[in-house]
Symmetry: C2
Subunit: 356 residues, 2 copies
């Protein structure tokens, strides 16, 4: 029984009777439009480090007051985050970044890999605690906001987001807004964080089911910051793959009904898994966006091991996300599989009700 | 007349009567086989961070004693280098990396971005000076070898490469061997550096004319080092784009004649540009691999500006490669364009013969 140290243990695992609530990867197909006319030699040449102009133009129309010059297309949101941290690390000011806990598991690594130190504000019922936020925000270079959130599935109140904008603007603290789930939201329209020092990070992976293509981006009103990102990316990875950018452009132009249809499916799955977990006795927050639930369970590490080795069910340990005593389940899989997976979890729970 | 600060000024520029000896990008098409059967949903899912197993298997057959477990597929050779430097920076030992000068322009940045310091050994007639190499190698964590070389177009003698292997093995110094031009060599069979601490970096960009797809890789006999690269990449960019990996796999299986035909074209162009530059009075080394020449010219910065603004010819300043008083010309363009470009250079030279 091999130890399970983190999510990467599971990446790429499927088939063979396994039910995976692990990876945050949509099982739905990408828009069919993206497959058209790919055999074009232009798509195999070096491109602008900043990203293809037409793609940046299309993206700039999705954000008020944005211009194509202020975008950089990256190898997924991961590279956008990595480059952002590395460029921020070179700027004067405190070498600390404020993270909301529970957090996406890469965040503390991204901060540390850039030579900075993560500082945490603990969420209260999956939402930012403004009192604690105010105490800590003055001592950091940037705060990372992720709403809708992985792993909590929660969204922040618009009033809170506006208050964060105000505080950070006043203090000159950068806001990194990881909005990769902005289109997967069930409770209200999404609210895009804005302000002079906001760096928005997004990706085509979740909205368009294109995780494997690794097309993400960042944008900020600070043109100087954009230039620093380009000046680094020219040496660390050059242009983001052109063929993927072309497919992302085609995805943006897919009929709007594509995204609406996806959200409808996600909402139905959300209702299914949330209802069933409550019936099983789990305590958890109702997800409002993204496609994750984070129910409580004692001995979460042992549970993750047993689920995998005895019941062939992949779930992630909350500990990897700064939430020990929880497990994270992604519901990016079809309803039949969700039901089968929950059946196995119910079996596991027999006689372990005190774990809940 | 905008200042020209580095190669990125020119990236993505073409058309409009411009002749570009700038970017090191093959103008030849990629193998046609890579375009087949791309509309497969599997290609849009997250994949192994380490890279697709079938691609690593195919690659491992190109190197003696290599196994698929020892490869990582990256976003071009650039990411392979960036990750290598970042992982090396965390290891104990001196925080210095030995570079051969002239060097590929990203190398010093890659070293510094990782928080280390570049140290230089100056090439003698475009070849490593073993006496100077021996003096400096004991004080560094790694040496970066690039043969065939960008920007010199030179290859190292096999005896020199074997001596470097011996010295580094004895001292426990890492050898990073950037072999992106290994298939584009005109004078002899290529020699692949090997040894317990060799990290080989390569790419599909040059051999298969797939620059824009950004598929590169690294491999080393040190499994532990491979794991550290994966542990970092999972947070900094995740898997390399799957569609590009699939196309790389198809490229490997393209008929062998594809690469042979390319090399024949490169050799003819090499002969053309080398002969013409000599006739124009330039002093330069005869290229033995890759597709670059590095002729001497006084006031290289001013020459680069005038070539571009007055003659619509792009060449790179040797200074960007640690070779002031030189210009770098890539001959990755067709013979007619090479001839037209050289005609313009001849015009520029009228009355400036003392610049040579």
């Amino acid at each position: 029984m091999a130890g399970i140290a983190g999510p990467s243990f599971f990446i790429g695992q499927d088939g063979d009777g396994l039910i995976s609530f692990g990876s945050g990867q949509p099982d739905l197909p990408p828009p069919k439009e993206i497959f058209r006319n790919l055999a074009d030699e232009r798509l195999f040449k070096y491109g602008l480090i900043q990203g293809e102009r037409r793609l940046r133009e299309a993206l700039s129309k999705e954000y008020p007051d944005a211009s194509p010059e202020n975008f950089v297309i990256t190898n997924g949101a991961s590279e956008a985050l990595d480059l952002t941290m590395r460029v921020l690390a070179k700027a004067p000011g405190p070498q600390k970044i404020l993270l909301c806990r529970p957090y996406y598991y890469s965040y503390p690594y991204n901060v540390r890999f850039a030579g900075m130190e993560p500082v945490y504000t603990d969420l209260k019922e999956g939402r930012i605690n403004l009192a604690d936020f105010r105490k800590k925000i003055g001592r950091v270079k940037a705060v990372l906001i992720n709403s809708p959130s992985n792993p909590t599935g929660r969204i922040e109140a618009v009033a809170t987001l506006k208050e964060i904008e105000k505080i950070c603007k006043k203090l000159g603290v950068w806001v990194i807004s990881d909005e990769v789930y902005k289109d997967l939201i069930y409770e209200r329209e999404n609210y895009l964080l804005k302000g002079p020092h906001v760096i928005t990070i997004n990706s085509f992976s979740k909205t368009y089911s294109m995780c494997g293509l690794r097309i993400g981006y960042l944008w900020t009103p600070q043109r100087d910051f954009v230039q620093k990102i380009i000046n680094m990316k020219v040496h660390t990875s050059m242009n983001t793959n052109i063929l993927g950018q072309e497919m992302a452009l085609k995805a943006i132009h897919a009929p709007e009904s594509y995204v609406r249809r996806q959200v409808k499916i996600w909402r139905a799955r959300r209702d299914l898994i949330y209802g069933d977990l409550i019936r099983l006795g789990f305590k958890l927050w109702r997800p409002e966006g993204a496609f994750y639930v984070l129910p409580k369970i004692r001995n979460s590490g042992r549970a993750v091991n047993e689920f995998y080795y005895k019941y062939k069910v992949i779930v992630y340990d909350g500990e990897w996300f700064g939430a020990p005593g929880h497990i994270r389940l992604s519901y990016a899989l079809d309803e039949k599989k969700i039901e089968e997976g929950l059946k196995r979890i119910a079996k596991f729970l027999k006689g372990k009700e005190r774990w809940l």
